[in-house]
Structures are given as C-alpha cells and as structure tokens.
C-alpha cells in the first residue's frame, strides 16, 4: 500500500510534468473481498493498485490522462497526453472550463481505521467462517460477501493545492435461505471492519428467511409501506442523481429545476449531504481537491440546494462555486453527485412502532434493480427482494410475495408519515472500477400510497 507521502510526491511530479495549469490526483487502493454461495466459499479477491489522474487546462479546455505507475516516465507520458488532448480541443476555440479551484484547507475526519488498513487478506476467510458457523447452527443456507478496503489519496495543483486523505471501509452482507424458497437479507457497512459483527448480521438475515407460513400475494395496489433502511437508501441514492446533480439542474433537466424553495416532501423530511455526520463514510475533499462541507438539500420538506463541481457551478452562473462534489477532475459528463446523503431520523423508536398503526400493508427490507423511468419526475421502478412481509393489524403477519414497484421518490417522501429515530449507514456501492466507498445514512420510514404495479 502506497503511503500518502509517496502519493503526494507523485501528484507534485505530475503537476510539474504537465506544466501550465494542471491538477494531479494520485489514489492508492488495497482491498480484499471474499464471497460465499450455498454455504461454501466461491471467490476471494485481493487487489493492490494505484492510479494518477492528470488534468491539464488549456484555453478553457481540459484533458485528462490516467497513469498506473508512479515513476517519472509514466507521469510524464500521462502529462503529455493530457496536454495534447487539451491543446487539440483548443483548435476549436476557447472552452468553458472556468479554471482550477483555489487551494482551501480541508478538515480532518474519522473515516480511517488503522486496523482495517493493516488487515491481512486471510482475515476475510475467518469472517466468512464466522458467518458459516451461524448458518450451520440454524441449518439455513447462506450466501454472503465480506469486503474491506483502504484508499489513500493525494491532490496537487498548479495553484498551490496540496492535500492528502486516507479512508477505510468495510461491508458484510448476507442472503439466507434456499435458492427456491423465501430468503432473508441483512447488511452492515462501517469505516472499520471491527465494527461489523458478521455473525450477528448473518443471524439477522437467517431470521428474516425463517419466517413461517406461505408467502401472501399482494395485488397491484397502493399500499402503506414500512421501508427498512436498506430500501430507503436505495431510493435516496437514486434520488441523489436525479434531483441534486447541479449540472442537470442548471440545464433544466433536474427533478428540482425551478423548484428550489418549494415544498417537495413531507415536513418531517430533512435530507443533507453531510460528510462528517456520525456513521457516514467521511472524506476530506472531492476529485478536484475542493473541501467537502455539509449541504442541506431538502430541509423540513422544502428543496434547498443542489451540489456542484467546478464546471457545473460555472454553468449555473450567479457566482456559484463548487460544493466539493466532483467525481472526476474537470467534472464528469454525468455531473456532480452527493456521496454522503443523510436523512434525519424521526420519532419512532423502532420499525415495530412504524408498523403499529398499519391495518394492512407491506414491510420491505430492500429494493433491487431500481432504475429511473422518468428521472425528472423521480419516477423509478424496481422490485422488492429478500425480506418482504405482510403487515396486518399493526404487526408483521408473515412473508409476502415479492412485488414490482413503480413510484416517484419525491412522492414517497411527500407521503412519509413517520421515521425511526436512529439512522444507520447503508453502503450503496458495488465497487465497479477503482474503489470509492459511499453510502446513505438513513432511518426506516412509513409512507402511504406505495405503488405496487406487479406481482413478482
């Protein structure tokens, strides 16, 4: 694992090699992932890698090149390519990139756990063994994934920015039950692997899989629903892209375009991007080195802000500045996005209290394959998966068949009646590409009119 000093040195050399206006971001990763299926180990992966992104800015155009070595030759080659593509774009006239951000000091955080960073890869097998022991005790088949990673990052720019950051993350999720029968799901994500009790998570999943009785079919209808934190997080993660991308907002494509200052959710809904909220996965700065700061997105049900990178802020005009939400140096075409969503908790003690006033409704553990149908209206579709129950007379009455749901996320938040007090972190990344752990901190909630559109 490369040290922060090594990465900062590489970033400095990348900036020097680029000459002119440039930013370099060096990221080192060490991660381990191990999986179970049908109560047997399947795959185990140990990854060490590093990448240096060099952004050159020429006449308002950006060129981004990525090197996977820290030696001078690799950095020089990447810098040359970044320069060449930015210069080639300049032949078409000046571009609209406003320039690199001024240096600013980022605050520290508690998102690094030294013990997790130092984990031996063989530790993964021990964690899976603990989960297996739980499944053998219960006589229930288990599929599971345990993963932990450490990511160190350094950013330097021609404007004098120099900063480093180090984060860790760990996640365990379990799916219990036979392939052809009702299954249960449970998962936990944390900064440190030591904070996750693998056996307890497996036990929770097994409990959900072991509910007695035949699943009850729920017809296509609008039902009152209690959504567990995993289901809420899936919806909010998608809402983040549909509603708070400052670039889409500025272009009139966003779900909140023209709606800031208006009520878009129930008064009990306060959603923010809060990078240092207890239980989240903090980080110090974004991909352009801009310090991250908390931003209210929906406050007491009223739409407040969207998030920006350097490019989207310039597009938005009105003197707006980056809010520290760049996902790529120079800004991604897809736009900036919140990565530390926090939905404030409500007054309910637990999920049972949420279910208590429900005469007949659904409890949903998680949602799957959610995708926008009409993003501007936050209309999404997806299916329930592994842990859907019928609520009758205020209590969980037994398992329910899975269903397809097609509903608007903002409508659901407008119809939210109550939330549990204590939110928890739900990991919302599957680690495609370089490791970048993020998640949503949210409680369970109860909402009316949940739109079930098909039985599954």
């Amino acid at each position: 694992m490369r040290s922060a000093d090594e990465l900062l040195d590489a970033a400095r050399r990348g900036v020097r090699a680029a000459g002119g206006e440039a930013l370099a971001r060096a990221v080192g990763e060490r991660s381990v992932t191990a999986r179970l299926a049908r109560s047997a180990p399947t795959q185990a992966t140990d990854v060490e890698r590093v990448r240096v992104e060099i952004l050159c800015v020429r006449d308002g155009h950006t060129g981004l090149a990525v090197a996977t070595g820290l030696d001078d030759a690799a950095l020089a080659a990447a810098a040359r390519r970044a320069h060449d593509v930015a210069a080639a774009a300049g032949h078409a006239g000046p571009g609209d990139f406003p320039g690199l951000p001024a240096p600013a000091v980022a605050r520290g955080h508690d998102g690094f756990d030294a013990a997790t960073a130092a984990l031996d890869a063989r530790h993964a097998g021990g964690e899976l063994g603990a989960a297996l022991a739980e499944s053998e005790r219960a006589g229930v088949e288990l599929a599971a994934t345990w993963t932990a990673g450490a990511v160190t990052e350094a950013v330097a720019s021609s404007r004098g920015l120099e900063a480093t950051d180090a984060v860790t993350d760990a996640q365990f999720k379990a799916v219990a039950g036979p392939l052809a029968g009702p299954r249960g799901y449970a998962a936990r994500t944390a900064v440190g692997a030591g904070a996750i009790d693998v056996a307890a998570v497996a036990h929770e999943a097994i409990g959900r899989a072991s509910s007695r009785g035949r699943p009850v079919a729920i017809g296509c209808n609008e039902v009152t629903v209690v959504l567990g934190p995993d289901a809420v997080a899936e919806l909010l993660d998608l809402l983040g892209a549909m509603a708070f991308d400052g670039r889409a907002h500025a272009e009139g494509r966003g779900a909140l375009s023209g709606r800031l200052g208006q009520r878009v959710a129930a008064p009990g809904i306060s959603l923010s991007d809060s990078v240092r909220f207890p239980g989240t996965l903090p980080r110090a700065f974004d991909a352009e080195g801009v310090p991250k700061a908390p931003i209210p997105l929906i406050q007491d049900g009223v739409a407040h802000r969207v998030v920006h990178d350097v490019r989207s802020a310039a597009r938005a005009g009105g003197g707006q500045a980056s809010t520290g939400h760049a996902t790529t140096p120079g800004g991604a075409v897809a736009g900036p996005g919140p990565r530390n969503l926090v939905l404030a908790g409500g007054g309910a003690t637990n999920e049972a209290e949420l279910a208590a006033p429900v005469e007949r409704g659904l409890y949903v553990t998680r949602l799957w394959y959610l995708n926008p149908v009409r993003a501007k209206e936050t209309l999404v579709t997806g299916v329930t998966r592994e842990g859907t129950f019928l609520i009758e007379d205020g209590r969980i009455a037994g398992p329910a068949h899975e269903v397809r749901v097609t509903d608007s996320v903002l409508r659901l938040l407008s119809a939210t009646e109550a939330l549990t007090r204590q939110p928890r972190l739900v990991g919302t990344t599957q680690f495609y590409g370089p490791r970048f752990a993020h998640g949503v901190v949210c409680p369970a909630l109860r909402a009316s009119g949940f739109r079930v559109t098909a039985a599954v």
Partner: protein, 480 residues
C-alpha cells in the same frame, strides 16, 4: 510477458491444484462534446497482472501492477494465502478438462483508432453536435466516441500459453428535450453509450453521427407534445436494439450457469432456470432460436480463448423455443457434469477474476422480412424503439422496460408518435408470444459496454445480434 507467466505457472504447479495468470494492458480514449463545448477528453493506460489459484476447492485471486518477476511471485503468494485462508470446501468438483490454449489471436481493426488525429475525432463530434442544435427546447446535446485496445497474455498450470489483442470503437449522439415538466430523450445509434464494436475507427466513421443529428433532435422535440402511449395488451414490434436488451436481460443472464447454481446469490442474483431444465424447458415460441457465439465478427464477446483458456465456440442456447444449453465455465461445467466448459469466463481488466459472462448471445434471424414487413402484419399495435429504462428481478423472470420512441401501428403501417411507453412481462410468457423475427437483411449486431456483475463489480463488453421482432398480447403501460 508470456514467458514470465509460463515460468510463474511452473512455480505454482506444486503449490496448488490449479493456477492461472493473466497480464492485461488496456488503453482507452473517450471524448465528448456537450452543447457545443469540447469536454471530458480522457485517456488512460492500465497494465497489471491477476493471479488465480485453487486450493482444496477454494479460490484465491490477487491483482498487482508490479509486472516484474518478483511482482508476479508476490501476486502468486498473495493469491495462495487468500485461498488457503478460506473456509475449506471438501468435495468440490474438479474443473472440466480443456486442452492447452496455445498461440495468438487478434480481433479486427482496419483503422487504428489511436492513430486517428484528435482533430478528426473532435471535428466529427462538433459536427454531430451542431446537427442537433437549433431548437431552444433541446436542453442538452451530447456526442461521444470511445476507443479501447486490450492486449492480454494468459498461462495456466494446465499448459495454456496464449496472447490476444482486441480493439473496440464506438460512438453515440443524444438529444434531451425539455418543456415544462416534460423531458424526452432520443439517442443514436442506440442508448447505453451508443454502438460499440470490435473494430477500428472505420466503425465510427460508418455510423455517420452528424448525418443523424437533425433527426434525433427533431424526434426528441416532437415527443414532448406527442400523446401518451395507450395502455393495454397489444401487438408490439420491437426495434432490434430493444430486442438486444430484452435478450440480454431475460435470456443471456438467466442462462449463466453460475447464477443457475446459486453462486451469484449474494449480489447479481440467481435464475428462474435450473440446470436440470436443459433439454426440456420451453423458453419461448418456435420462432425463438438463440445462439451463443464467441466467434461473431465484430462482436464485443468475440475472442480466441476465454479467460480460462477455453477456445471460442458457437452453439445454440435455445432451439425452436426449447432450452438446449447454458453459458458455462470450467468450474460450473465440472460441477454439473458437462463434458467441457462453454468458454464463457471473462474478467474486467487485470484486477478482477473471471466470471461466467455472456459471449455474443444472439437471436437468430427468422423469416419475418424487414421492419416494414413485420409492421405490415399488424392491424393495430405499437412499434417501440431504443431503450430508455430497464429493470428485471433477481431471477430474471419479471421485467419492465421502457423505450424512447413509440409509434402507433394501424392497418399495417407506422403512424404517429406516442410517448412514455412501458412494457412488462414474465420471461417465458413473453418469449412464448414471439410471433415473428425479422430476416437476415434486418439483422444487425449491437454492442453494450455496461453489463454489470460480480463482487467487486465488473463491467463486461458484449454484443447481441438481433432483428426487429413481433410479440402478441404484450402488457403495455404509460409512465404518466
């Protein structure tokens, strides 16, 4: 590099039941013009080695960017340690046998995309962007290209020692129109990053992105004021790109043998199809013939050998509506008693271990003629084109898809635009409603870059050959 991998495998042979090592060097260039501005020109090079070992039935995989001989040995040691630390797996079936992969293979490339000047590429994108400009209701225009070259070397303790080279190119244009609360989008030649093929820059030139810009923008604007799609069961003709997505989601993934065996239950899911269903399950109508073809010219799932050294094959998955085979690996083939792997193991770069992935899963041409011929047989129905939204359950059984464009069909002819169509179904019932498949002249290959699976996540590149197809009694809804 191949010699070093072979030496590493010699060193590994006495330390585990099986090992393989894969060196991957991948270069990528992407460029976008958004609303007339050149942005997001990116280039990357990534080189590294992945070493995979099997010890007492448990796998260990380690990835490193240190490609020295010492780095390779370090990777092997890490993979062994990881495998040895896994819970024991007594009784795991041996891998299905395969002859040693030897030699080299290279995909087609007439015009080296990395030899084409950036000026030419940007000129093409600016022209395509300009062709979409003009109407104030267009909130965003985007034109993009991508080029990728991957060079691989592979060796295993079963005697494999082979090298391969792949070149992929593609492009796309997208126009987003907004008026009031309504947003409509049109893409060409397809959604999902456009049409990418295993080919050189000649493929991008042939797409003629500027030539389609005005139509794409006009259609996006016209959809803003189109009537909502009528709801109810009806006859539907799907454009070939939407057939490709339908095939991908409800047949390709469902027939991955690792999913069928439960290996992906913790993330991607399982399958409604069981291994025992092969040979007897009716998957669809007699018109349904599906082939897995890793030899398809230009396909993104085309190669000499998969990432276990199994040679590329072409074989039927579904014949006359009946399931006849699955997509398999050496491990899944061994576990189910197949004589050999179907050669469908692939990995995303050096830092991921191979998984069962689709090769080019294609719907074979039928005798339905052209799109116009298929439409001419419909008295009243809908034509749906270009995917906009997609969702399917974790068993690949219940799906709901939406398309960008809908046209009414009346009296055997395409009529006016309709917007916000959604259709839903259950996989075997939907494919049982397949009434006709377009003929060879309407059949074309569609490339996708965003097929996700695995933990840590992997994106696979895969193509599907399809023609427009007609389905009866489809559950169509409106998303309004």
């Amino acid at each position: 590099m191949l010699d070093a991998l072979v030496d590493l495998m010699d060193a590994a042979a006495s330390r585990c039941a099986y090992a393989d090592a894969r060196w991957v060097d991948r270069s990528r260039e992407s460029a976008s013009v958004v609303d007339g501005a050149i942005e997001a020109i990116g280039v990357s090079d990534e080189e590294g080695i992945g070493v995979r070992v099997r010890v007492d039935g448990a796998w260990g995989f380690a990835a490193t960017q240190d490609v020295s001989r010492a780095g390779l040995e370090g990777g092997l040691r890490r993979a062994l340690a990881l495998a040895e630390g896994q819970p024991r797996r007594p009784g795991a079936a041996p891998l299905a046998p395969v002859g040693p992969a030897r030699g080299s293979w290279e995909g087609p490339c007439a015009v080296d995309p990395f030899g084409v000047s950036l000026e030419e590429k940007l000129g093409l994108l600016l022209a395509a962007d300009e062709a979409m400009a003009g109407d104030a209701r267009i909130a965003r225009r985007r034109a993009s290209t991508v080029a990728e070259r991957t060079v691989k070397a592979f060796a295993s303790t079963d005697g494999a020692a082979c090298e391969q080279a792949f070149t992929e190119c593609g492009g796309a244009i997208v126009a987003v129109a907004v008026e009031g609360g309504e947003l409509q989008v049109r893409s060409f030649p397809s959604a999902h990053d456009g049409d990418v093929a295993q080919a050189g820059w000649e493929h991008v030139r042939a797409l003629d992105l500027p030539g389609h810009g005005a139509r794409v923008a006009d259609e996006a604007v016209a959809l803003l004021s189109a009537p909502p799609c009528p709801a109810g069961p009806t006859t539907v003709v799907l454009g070939s790109e939407q057939v490709a997505l339908q095939l991908h989601e409800s047949i390709g993934h469902a027939l991955e043998l690792d999913r069928m065996l439960g290996s992906e239950a913790a993330y991607a899911g399982t399958s409604w199809v069981a291994p025992d269903d092969v040979g007897s399950l009716r998957y669809g109508s007699d018109a349904l013939n599906v082939v897995a073809d890793a030899t398809l010219p230009g396909g993104l799932g085309t190669y000499g050998w998969d990432d276990e050294g199994v040679p590329a094959r072409r074989f039927r998955l579904v014949e006359g509506g009946r399931l006849v085979a699955t997509l398999s690996s050496r491990e899944t083939a061994g576990a189910t008693g197949l004589g050999g792997s179907g050669g469908a193991m692939r990995a995303d770069g050096f830092a991921r271990q191979p998984l069962v992935r689709m090769t080019n899963v294609s719907l074979e041409p039928g005798d339905g003629g052209t799109l116009e011929d298929l439409v001419s047989g419909v008295d009243e129905g809908l034509y749906l084109e270009t995917n906009r939204s997609w969702s399917i359950d974790d068993r690949r059984l219940h799906f709901q898809f939406a398309t960008e464009l809908t046209r009414e069909i009346r009296g055997g002819e395409l009529g006016g635009l309709r917007r916000n169509a959604v259709y839903a179904g259950v996989t075997p019932r939907f494919w049982a409603s397949l009434d006709a498949v377009g003929s060879a002249e309407a059949w074309r290959v569609h490339g996708l870059l965003n097929c996700g699976k695995g933990e840590p996540g992997q994106l696979a590149h895969v193509s599907h050959g399809t023609a427009p197809a007609r389905f009866v009694g489809v559950d169509v809804r409106t998303a309004e």
